[in-house]
C-alpha cells in the first residue's frame, strides 16, 4: 500500500512538472520570442485557460504527500522552510502577473507584469530543479526526524549542505533548460507565423543545452548519492526509464528538426516523465535521505499515515483522479490548436469555422499519465 502511494505521489508530482512545466518554460522564453503586443497576447492566451489547472496538480500533490506520509511532509516542509516560502512568493507573483496584466492597458503596467511573469518562471524552474537535487543528495535529518537547511553554506554537498550547492545548482540549471525546451515545444504547437519560427528556433537551441546539462547531471548523481545505484543494481528494470528518457530526448530533437510540433511536445513530456521516474526508482523507498545517519532517513514505511487511512484513501482518490483526468483532458481538448486572437474577425466568424483552424488531435497530451 505504501509503495502504491509512493508511486501515486511521484506520478502526481511528475504530472505537475510536465503540465506546469510547459507554462514555466513559456514564461522564461516569453520576453525572447515576442516582439509585439499581439504576439505577447498570443503567448499568454496559449497558456491562459490551462495554467491554473496545471498549478493545482502541485496543490494536489502536496495534499497527497501530507495525507500519505505526514511525517515526511512535516520534516520536508519545515526543513526547506526558507526555500518553500520563497517558492510561495514567486508563485504568487507569477499568478498575479497572469491575472493582472490584462486588466489595465497602460504599457508600463504591462511591462511590469511581463517582467514579473518571466522572472518568477525562471526562478521557480531553478528552485524546483534544486529541490529535486536536494532530494537526491539528502538532508541532515536528526534522530527525531527533523532537519533545517540554510539556503547555502559552502556550496559543497557535504554532511552540512545548504539548499544550493554545486550539484543542486546544476540540477536547477538543467531543469530550467529542460522546461524551456518543453515550453518552446508547446509554444510551437500553439502558434504560427513569426512567433512559431522563433519558438521552434528556441526549442532547437535549448534542446542541445538540455541534452548537455542532463548528461552532466545524470553522471554526477550517483557520485553525490551512491545509494541511488543500489536499486538499479538490485532491479535493473529501472534502466528502462533511463533508456526511455534518452530516446525521448533524442526523438524531441529529431521531431523538432522535422517540424512535427505535436510529436516534439509529446516526446519532451515523455522525457520529463522518464527522468523523474528514474529518480523515483533510485530513491525508493526513501522519501528524505539522511546525510547524517542512514537510520534517520524517512522512508515510506516510517512516515506512513497508517494502514486504514491509506486503504480508505484509495476509494476517494481513484474517483477523484478519474474526475481530474476527465476534466483536464476536456479542457486541454477544448482549447486545442493554434491560438487565434479575434482582433479583426467578429466572434461569429471565428466560431463558425473552428475545424479549419484546429487540427484533429492524434493523441492527447494527458495520455502518458494513464
Amino acid at each position: 500500500m505504501e509503495t502504491f502511494w509512493y508511486a501515486i505521489v511521484t506520478l502526481m508530482l511528475t504530472m505537475y512538472v510536465v503540465l506546469d512545466g510547459f507554462d514555466f518554460g513559456v514564461g522564461i522564453l516569453y520576453p525572447f520570442v515576442t516582439r509585439t503586443e499581439t504576439e505577447r497576447c498570443t503567448v499568454l492566451d496559449s497558456i491562459g485557460p490551462v495554467w491554473k489547472g496545471n498549478e493545482v496538480w502541485l496543490v494536489a500533490s502536496g495534499g497527497l504527500l501530507f495525507f500519505a506520509f505526514p511525517r515526511a511532509y512535516a520534516a520536508g516542509f519545515s526543513g526547506f522552510y526558507l526555500a518553500l516560502v520563497m517558492v510561495l512568493w514567486l508563485l504568487i507573483f507569477r499568478g498575479l502577473a497572469l491575472e493582472l496584466r490584462s486588466q489595465l492597458s497602460h504599457p508600463l503596467w504591462r511591462q511590469l507584469w511581463d517582467l514579473a511573469f518571466s522572472g518568477a518562471s525562471f526562478f521557480l524552474a531553478i528552485v524546483f530543479g534544486a529541490a529535486l537535487g536536494n532530494l537526491i543528495r539528502g538532508v541532515p535529518l536528526n534522530p527525531e526526524g527533523y532537519f533545517f537547511v540554510a539556503l547555502w553554506t559552502d556550496f559543497t554537498p557535504g554532511p552540512e549542505p545548504g539548499i544550493l550547492d554545486w550539484f543542486t545548482l546544476l540540477m536547477g540549471l538543467a531543469s530550467a533548460a529542460i522546461l524551456m525546451l518543453h515550453g518552446a515545444n508547446y509554444l510551437a504547437m500553439k502558434t504560427d507565423g513569426d512567433l512559431y519560427l522563433r519558438a521552434a528556433a528556441s526549442a532547437k537551441r535549448t534542446g542541445w543545452i538540455a541534452l548537455v546539462l542532463t548528461c552532466i547531471a545524470m553522471l554526477a548523481s550517483p557520485f553525490v548519492q551512491p545509494a541511488l545505484r543500489l536499486n538499479y543494481t538490485a532491479h535493473p528494470l529501472g534502466y528502462l526509464f533511463t533508456v526511455t528518457g534518452a530516446l525521448a530526448l533524442i526523438a524531441t530533437v529529431v521531431f523538432r528538426r522535422r517540424q512535427h510540433d505535436v510529436a516534439a511536445f509529446a516526446t519532451s513530456s515523455l522525457f520529463i516523465l522518464a527522468m523523474l521516474g528514474n529518480v523515483a526508482w533510485g530513491c525508493y523507498p526513501n522519501l528524505l535521505i539522511a546525510t547524517t545517519n542512514p537510520a534517520s532517513s524517512l522512508t515510506i514505511f516510517n512516515a506512513t499515515a497508517g494502514a486504514y487511512g491509506l486503504r480508505v484513501g484509495l476509494v476517494w482518490f481513484l474517483f477523484g483522479f478519474a474526475l481530474v483526468i476527465t476534466s483536464q483532458v476536456y479542457v486541454h481538448r477544448a482549447f486545442w490548436g493554434k491560438v487565434r486572437l479575434d482582433l479583426e474577425s467578429s466572434p461569429t466568424e471565428s466560431h463558425a469555422s473552428p475545424d479549419s483552424q484546429r487540427e484533429r488531435l492524434p493523441f492527447d497530451i494527458n495520455r502518458p499519465s494513464r
Binding site: G48, P49, G62, S78, V85, Y146, G309, A334
Partner: protein, 453 residues
Amino acid sequence: MASALLYDRLQFAFTATFHYLFPQLTMGLALLLLYLRSRALWSGDEQYHQAARFWTKIFALSFGFGVVTGIPLEFQFGTNWAKFSNFAGGVIGQTLAMEGLFAFFLESTFLGVLLFGEKRFGFRVQWFASLMLFLGSWLSGYFILATNAWMQHPVAYTVADDGRLFLNSLSGLLTNPWLFWQYAHNMTAAVVTTSCVMAAVGAFYLLSGNHLAHAKTFIQTGVVAGAIACALMIFPTGHGNAKQVFEHQPLKGAAFEGLFRTERGAGIVLVGQPNTETMTIDNPLVVPSALSILVYYDLWANVKGLDAFPKEEWPDNLPLLYYAYHIMAGLGTILAAIMALALLLLWRGRLFTSKPVLWLLMLCAPFPYIATTAGWMTTELGRQPWLVYGLLRTAQGTSPLVHSGNALFTLLGFLGLYLLLGLLFLIMIMEIVRQGPVPVTDYPAQTTGSGTY
C-alpha cells in the same frame, strides 16, 4: 523559542484571515452566479447573461486571489507547524488532500471554461460550468471546515505506538457532529457577504445613475438573498453553533460571553469591557437570564463561568476573544436589521427611490467581511491553548528547528506582499465596477483589445 511560537501564530492568523476575505465572496457568489445563469438560460434574457458575465469577472478576480493566498496556508502546516502535521497528519491529511484533488480541480477547470470559452461553448455548457463551480467551491469549504471541525472536536482517530494519530473512520471524520452547524453557519455567512456586495454595487450604480436596469437586478438579488441568509445566520445556524460550544467547550463559551463567574440565570453582556484583573465586566449592559434561556431553555439554568476551570486551560487572550465574539454578533444583528428594512421597502416597491437606504446598502459592504473575520477569531482564539482540542497544545505543534529569525523574516515578507496584494485587488475591483456590465459584442474589445489577455 517562545517568540518563534508567537511569529508562527501571527503568520498563520494573518495569512488565514487575509485569505478568507476572498473565498467568502467566491463561495457566496458561486451560488448567486448559478442563480443568474439559470435565470439567463431559462428566460433567454440578455440582461441576465450580461449580469452573469460581469459577476463572473469579479468571481475570477476574487478566486485568483483566493488561490494564491490559499496555497501558503496548506504549506504552513508543514513549514511552521511540523510537529502538528506529524501528529495529526494521519487524520487531517485526508480532508486536505481531498480538497486539493476534487474541489480545486473542479473550480479551476470550469472557471477556465467560463472565462476563455465565451465563444467556444454554448450557454448550456456555461450553465453547467457554473454548477460545477458552485459544487467545487462549496465542497472546498466542506473539506476545509471538516479539518477545522476536527481540530475543535477530534473524532475518528486512534493513537499509534509512536504517539501519532491515525484515522480509523473516514465517514466519522466527514460527519463530525461539530461540522454540521459550523459548515451551515459559515456558508450562510458567505452568502451574506456576497449579497451585501451585490446589493452595494447595485446601490452604487443606482445612486450614480449608471446601468440602471442592472442596478435593480443586483439590489433585488442581493437584498432577497441577503435577508434570507441573515435570518438563517442567526437562527438556526448561529444558535446551533453557540449551543454546541456550550455543550462541548463550555470554557470557550464562558470566555466569549465574558462570564467570569458561574451563575444561575446567567445574562448576556451586550456592551462592556472585560477586566481580567478583577474578573468583572466594566460598564456592563446586560440582558438578565438571556444566556441561560438560549443555552438551556431555562430561566434559572446554571451556566459555568471561567472560574469553574483551571486558569492554565483558559484561552490566552480573553479580551480579544470577547471582543471578536461581540463584534461578530453585533454586526450580524445590525446587518440583519438593514436587510430586513431593505426587504420591506423592496416589497412595498419603494426601495429604488429611497436614497438613505441605498446609501446604507452601499456603505455596509465591508461589515460582513469584518463580521466573518471576527467570527473566525472567536472560533480559533477560543480553541486556545489547544491546537487540537484536548489533545495537542499550540505550543507543542510548531516546527522544532525553524527559529524565530526565520519565522519573523517570512512573517514580514507576507505582511509586505499581502499589503501589495490588497491594494492591487482594490484597484482591480474598482476598474471592473467602473466598466460595469457591458453588452456581449463589446466584451472582448472592451477589456483588452485582444482576446482575454
